[in-house]
Every structure is written in C-alpha cells, then in structure tokens.
Symmetry: C2
Subunit: 514 residues, 2 copies
C-alpha cells in the first residue's frame, strides 16, 4: 500500500462535511507529539485507537475528565489510519472539529472546551503508542453480509482488527494498559488478542506477565444524549488479571459518573465480551419475535400497537417491542453474527445460536413486509411515485448506517417506481451517495401515489392531516410502518379520500380491499 508513487501524488482525504486534508502515508509526527506531551506534563497519556462514532465520543469523554483541582487529568491522542477513508478525522480533530455529526450539542461543546485547554490532539503516527499510559481500542470489527442482505455466508473481518492490535502491541510500553471497547466475537481477547500481544512482548524482551489488558464495552446511544450515554451510564468491564482490573476500574471511574452508575466488574474478559453481544442479540431477537405477531395481527384485523401498550403495563413485559419498518444501525444488525462467529470459530461449538442468528435474518427482511403491503394495495408499482419519509435507521437521529430505507428504496426502484425520499435531519445519504431532501415543500410540486412513513421522526408525528394531504395525489396511499399517524388523523385522511395501510395495524387494513 505504501508505494512511493502514491506519496508523491499528495492524496486528499475528504471528509463527509466537505473539508479535505492532504494525506501522507508515512506520517512522522513525533515532534508534534513530543511538544504536545511537554505541554501536558504530569498528565497520563491516553491514546484512542480508532476515531469513528464511538472513538470520537470517548476521546471527548476522556479529555473532559478532571482532577480535584478541576484541571484535565489526561493528555488525549486520537489515532487513526493514514488512509483517504480515515485521515480526515485526524485533520478535523487537529483543526478543533469533532469528526462526527450528531444532535448532541453538549458533545461538541465539551470537545471544543477540551481542545482549547490543549489536551487533545490526533495523529496517524504509531509513535503515539510508545508514549501511551493507556490505549483505548475503538476500532470497528465489521461483518460483510453481501450486497443482497438476504444472501447467506456472512464474513467477519477479524484480520484488519488483529493487525491493528498487533501494530499497537509493537510500540506500547510494557506498563501500558490496553482497554478494548470494540464489540468482538466472544473469546477474542483471551484466545486471539492476548496470544498475539504475548508474541510481540516476547520479541521485544518483555515478560508476558507484564501485559495489562481489559475489556469494557460502551453503550453509546446516538442522538441528543450521545455524550451522556458514555459518561453517565452503567458500564461493564473485566480484565485478564487483578492488576489490569484495578487500573481499568480507576480509569473508568475517572471518566464515568460511577456514583450514580456503579461499574459492574465481571470475572473475566470473555464474560464481558459475551455481555455486549448478548444485550444486542436480546434486542434483535425481541424485534424479530414481534414480526410474526405483526402478520397475525394484520390478518386478524387487530391493532397490535394497542395490544402491546396494554401488555407493557406489566413490569415483566416492559421490554416487548412494537412492530416496525426494519432494523438498522451498526449494532443490532451485526452483533448477533459476531456472537455466532465466536461460538463457532473460537469455541468450536457444535451448537448454533439459531434463534440469535435467525433474528438478524428476519430483521434484515423486515422491509419486505412493508413492501408486500404496498404492492398488495397499490396493485402495481411500476411508474408509481413513492415518497419514503425517513432514511435514518432510528428516529430523530441523522445516522443512515444499514438503514432499512435503503433496502426498501432499492426494491421499489427495481419494480419501476419513481422513488423520492425525505428526512428532516439527514442531509446526505452516504450509502447511496446522494443528498437528501429536507424540505417537504419541494415534494408538493409533484404529488405522489404513496407515502411510506419509514422512521418515527418527531416531525412526522407532529404533521397535520393537511400536511399529509398536500403531498398526495387524490386517492393516494399512506403506509404507516411505525405508528406515526393516530386513529383520529387516519379517520380524517380517510374522509378526504386517502387510503391508509399500517404495519401492525390490522384494523386499518381491513377497511381496504386487498
């Protein structure tokens, strides 16, 4: 990769926000790093490896930690790769800008404040590892499902992850504490990473008993409480030995409000790894479970939302999920597969995590249900104008990763529909490489045959009957896949000649002829 020629070309790493940063493959940043360390003398050096969604939030959370004198505790260095796809993150941080987009103002404020106080920098130079007291690993471990989400044969990219970890282990001081935060197949720390770090340590003449390795997973929630979900929430952690456990606890206590949210220390790192993938598999499975009940409710002419509202009153049933359009985001779509990968490839289990993996398959197909409903009532889709409202994977979040709207968009296009989309907060849809219309006024010029309410954005919940009516051709359809329109509004829309279809709303569908 590191060809001389490429270096001479002066590549540009372009951020999704428009800025471009000149890219050097072989960054030699030690002077800048040493200067930074000099300015932060007396502070422990924390290196954040990986500057994605989680890494950036963690960088901010660590940088804002204070000692008793209200002074910064740590000198924080963000590290990512010198590649066109990632170097812009380093550039942005060094420019005093957070390389993520989210709706949490406190995260931006906190970052700016720390940046001004001088305890944040970023680099692509592995030299940073050699001066780190703590390395926090926030690299993604991706799962490739193939373009067709329904296709089997998932691949887990462990190689890139292991390479990055070994790269770090080559440089760190023997006293450095490694805290892995990435979601991993269970068994990765003990059975894969630890042996590799041991090998590196042995090569460098250190004892493998000196290794300090902990695992602690984040529970970052995108949205308005992004930073809060890191610093004011429950955390689970463990480590390979008592020394590492003690140091990891001390570090976590310095950045998290553990008075209100006490830490949970587990016996071993594998337990902590299982915790992460289990929590997300639990959610994914409960979403998949409701899907078959959605079909039954629709067939029986029943409003499943009403039923589940009633069931949720029981504290033992409060986690039961509602019907919906689909499942997206970075966690629920892949963590169950990571779990099965660990089960099969690391622990060589003869038993499959059938329900867990099956849940992802059901959830991946979920938008097909909305599509089938649309086709059933619209009769033909060819040349029909369809407006998808909501392209993010979650309500009131500008995050489109693995958004079910993408799948839905593609199948409608394939059937010859003219598909438009709108989102109140997503301005750019990187997975499709297109700008997103934020202004419904623009749709009104050409009225559509059908609206698909794909995401439960607040703006959509507050839309009036007249707002919807303006978007539709006479007699047009509204497919509500997320309980956005209540029965009163539905009655009014029906009185105006529009037709309403609902996921999990059998009481609506039975008024229509299939």
């Amino acid at each position: 990769m590191r060809k001389e020629g490429l270096c001479k070309k002066k590549l540009i790493s372009k951020s999704p926000f428009g800025d471009g940063y000149e890219l050097e493959y072989n960054v030699k940043d030690f002077r800048r790093i040493d200067e930074f360390i000099n300015q932060n003398r007396g502070r422990k050096v924390v290196v954040i490896q990986g500057l994605g969604f989680v890494g950036s939030a963690m960088l901010t959370a660590v940088a804002r930690a204070k000692n008793k004198k209200r002074l910064p505790l740590y000198a924080v260095i963000g590290v990512d790769l010198a590649k066109p796809s990632s170097y812009w993150k380093i550039g942005m941080i060094n420019d005093g800008k957070l390389p993520v987009k989210c709706s949490d103002i406190s995260l931006y404020r906190s970052f700016k404040k720390s940046f001004k106080s001088g305890n944040i920098m970023a680099t692509a130079d592995a030299y940073a590892y050699s001066i780190a007291d703590i390395v926090l690993v926030s690299i993604n471990l991706d799962v490739k499902k193939g373009n067709n989400v329904l296709r089997k044969g998932k691949k887990v990219f462990t190689d890139r992850f292991n390479l990055a970890l070994r790269g770090m282990a080559k440089y760190i001081k023997p006293s450095c504490l490694i805290i892995v935060e990435s979601t991993l197949p269970p068994g990765t720390c003990e059975k894969v990473l630890l042996p590799r770090i041991k090998t590196e340590f042995r090569k460098r003449g250190y004892k493998s008993s000196e290794i300090k390795l902990a695992y602690s997973y984040e529970r970052v929630m995108p949205g308005e409480n992004y930073l809060k979900s890191v610093i004011s929430y429950y955390r689970i952690f463990s480590a390979i030995n008592d020394k590492s456990k003690k140091e990891a606890r001390k570090f976590l206590e310095s950045i998290i409000d553990t008075n209100s949210y006490p830490l949970t220390e587990l016996s071993d790192v594998t337990a902590a790894e299982i915790g992460k993938v289990l929590e997300n598999s639990y959610r994914a499975t409960n979403i998949a479970f409701i899907q078959e009940w959605t079909r039954l409710a629709e067939l029986a002419g029943v409003n499943l939302f009403e039923v589940i509202d009633g069931i949720r009153k029981r504290h033992t049933h409060r986690n039961i999920m509602f019907p919906g359009f689909g499942v997206g985001g970075y966690c629920l779509t892949k963590d169950p597969i990571l779990a099965e990968w660990g089960n099969k490839e690391i622990f060589n289990s003869n038993d499959r995590l059938n329900m867990t993996v099956g849940a992802v398959e059901i959830n991946d197909k979920m938008p097909l249900h909305s599509f089938a409903l649309l086709r059933k009532y619209l009769k033909k889709l060819n040349k029909r104008k369809i407006l998808i409202m909501g392209v993010s994977y979650l309500n009131d979040i500008a995050d489109t990763r693995f958004s079910p709207s993408k799948f839905f968009y593609k199948i409608c296009k394939k059937r010859g529909s003219y598909v438009m989309f709108h989102d109140p907060i997503v301005t750019y849809w990187p997975e499709l490489g297109v700008d997103v219309n934020n202004d419904l006024e623009r749709v009104r010029v050409e009225k559509v045959d059908a609206i698909v309410l794909a995401v439960r954005h607040s703006e959509y919940i507050h839309m009036t009957v007249r707002h919807f009516a303006k978007l539709l051709k006479p007699g047009g359809f509204i497919l509500d896949a997320n309980n956005i329109i209540d029965d009163r509004k539905a009655d009014s829309l029906r009185a105006m000649g529009f037709k309403l279809i609902g996921v999990g709303k059998g009481h609506w569908n039975k008024m229509l002829k299939g």
Copy 2:
C-alpha cells in the same frame, strides 16, 4: 357417558385432599339454587363456569366484592361438570372449602368469610345459567403434546370447550353478559363462539343482536399473592359491542382495584385474545433465547448469571431471562401453541409463528441439557442414586403441572438411576401419583451420588454447606440448575471434595474434567 348403570353405582369423586363426594350425573339442584337466590335477593347472580385454579380464585374475588354499604354485591354460583374428575370441587365449595391448594392465606380467608356471609354456592346443574346475570367462563382449553414432549403434532382440544360454551348458551337469559376468561386461540370468540351462541339464540327465538359477550384475560400468579394478582393488577378486556364493553367494565371495576390498576380496554375481542397468548409467548421465547447462550457460556467457561445481572441494569434489558432447569406450568407450555392454532386454523395464515412455537420446543427440551451435563461428568448413570430437589414448576409454589422435574425424573430412570425427590412444599405429585418427601433428613440415611437442584425454592437457597454435605456420598456431585448455590458456598463444597456442575455456570464446569 351418562349410563343408567353408572348412576346406580353411586360413583365417588375423590379430591386430591382426601375428601370423597358422592356423584350424581344428572344433578337436579334447582331447589337449592332457588333457596340460595332467595337468600341473596337484590344481588346480581354471577356464575363461574369452571372451578379450576383460576375459576376458584375468581369465585372468591367476585364473592368478596362489596357495595357502598359494605355488603356483598353478588350472589356467586360455581359450576363444574358432574364427573369424577371434577365433582369434588363442587362438593368442597358447598362444604365451605376452597378446592385449590396454594400458599396465599388471604385467598382462603377471603373465601371463608364470603362463604359464611352466604353468597357462595356450587352446583353441577345447568339451571344455574338460566338465572345468571353474568357468566364468567374459566374453563381450560388444553393442548395435548403427547407423552413424549419432543413429539410433534400438538392437538388443541377445542371441542370440549365449544361444547361447554354451547351448553351454557342454551340456558342463559338474553340479557346475560358472558365474560370469557379462558386462554384461547386468537379469533375463537368472534369466529367460533359467537356464531354458535347466535345459533342457540336463534333457536330460542332471541335476536343475535342481544348477545353480550366480552373477553378479559386473567394474569393470575400462583404463590403468596394469588388473590392479589386477581384483584390488584392490570387487566385487559374487550367485547363484541359497546353495550357489552360498558357492562364488562362495570363488573371488572367492581372486583378489581382499578384506581391503582386502571383497566385497558381494547377495540375488539380478538385483540384481547392475542394479548394473552402474546404475553406468554414473549416470556417463553425469552427463556428459549437464553438457552443457546447458556451453552455458549458453559463452553466459554463463563458465569452467565453474572453477565445477565450486569445487563439487567439497563431498563431496556430488564426482562432478559436467566438460565434454568426448564419451563413448566399451565401457561408458557401451551399458550404459544394456542396462538399458532388460531393463526393456522382460524385465520388460515400462510405464515407460521415459527419463533413462538420453536420456543416451546426448545423449552420442552431444556431438562435434557441438565441431563447431558450430569451424564458428562458422572460418566455413568446406571445404578447411581440421584436426588432431584424441587418437583414444582416454580419456586415456592406447590404446583407441579408440567413440571420439568417429571421429564428429568423419567430420563434418569430410563438410564437405570435410582431417583429420589424432595420438595419443601409439594406433598403429593399428582402427575406421577406419588407422595413427595418433604423431609431431607430421610434422604440422609442413604447418601446420594448426585443432587440436582431443579427449583429455586427459598429453602434451598438458605441451605448451608453442611446441609448439602450430609446428603452426598464422598466426592458426590451437585448440579445447580437454578443458581441456588453461590460461589462462596461452591468453594467450600469443593474444598470438602464435592464436585459442582452448574447450568449457565461455565466457571464451575471448567474446574471439572469432562
């Protein structure tokens, strides 16, 4: 069935508590009923159809309802069949005894008090229906899974249920409100019962528009809060028309503390039917989900209880289940199958409730996992003495219906083991037709090779290390299938030479050689 000869024989209906009641097939009770009604003049007559676990509790709850003057609101008549298997319930009630065994003293007290005040009686005479203002249907709808729980081809006994309902519809006044409480396949009320009641009404010259039919499911919890789970808990109900909804609400408000637990009124009876089977299917599925993670945790040497304790701190994950020995009782084992029956047979769906039905299959097999663990570490089971501790299906409950201990008992016997069992509260095991040892002292005379802790009874949790040690041969095994023994006790027992195996306790199992 009603052979003359049988009547002459004077059959005895024997209760599980020892009392025998002389049985008449063609009970003519109208004189006694009329007398009862005379004594209860001014009170609405409520007939409870079916005097099982739920019916008996409902009978008590309705009988204790008071008007503003603190006088009983209702005259309550319990009705069951004149068959040897059920007639004893009628006999017991008329003797002033509640025909169920449970640990809720307030239920017995409440029943006794009402019985003394004279507003409770029971009969097998269908004449009772003809004077009822309200009939509360509490008949079981059973599912036959076959003797081998693993065998496919489940049968739902709808015929008996429909027959009982039609029997009632033949006699009731047209103004009578029918409230069905039984757990039913979704669609039963509207698609099966209502047409049959209509037929009966037409035959008798009543308009079918006069029919008042409601559905409201109970959420009775066995144990110390049996009565409270009826009168002080959330209730869902619906009915076929506004008139029935209004009257059903009024009735439910008179027996339930709806100030603290407001009623949930759903749009239609099918929604309410779905609610019941959905809540129990949700629980069943979440139990089945954890089963595959139990295997992974054991393989990985992880204590899954510790992990789940940590996960449960998230309010979004509070309903995640713990590993265990198996699933029993009357609801979780059959309600998912009733759901699929309605889905397939009543609504003719092309889609199966796969996850829901699959959960029951996984749960039915659960005790096999404990059995496999025992066999793995004990090596041979033939001629081994095994003590099953706990034969009920739930902790601190004397209810053995569909208890997983039965299945476990049978497979151990099949392997040639000498199986003993103990339970602190179950005195008689009707499914096996045997008395249950309540005294561990008796076991100590012949020490066992292995203890299987099958139920999380409080008594077992409080047992000391010495208590356990007294039961076992030197070097004997303890299989803890319900997180009854903590790690401290486990260490002590191990120090005494005993071997510990745990379901979901991989950290124990890895200390043993498989």
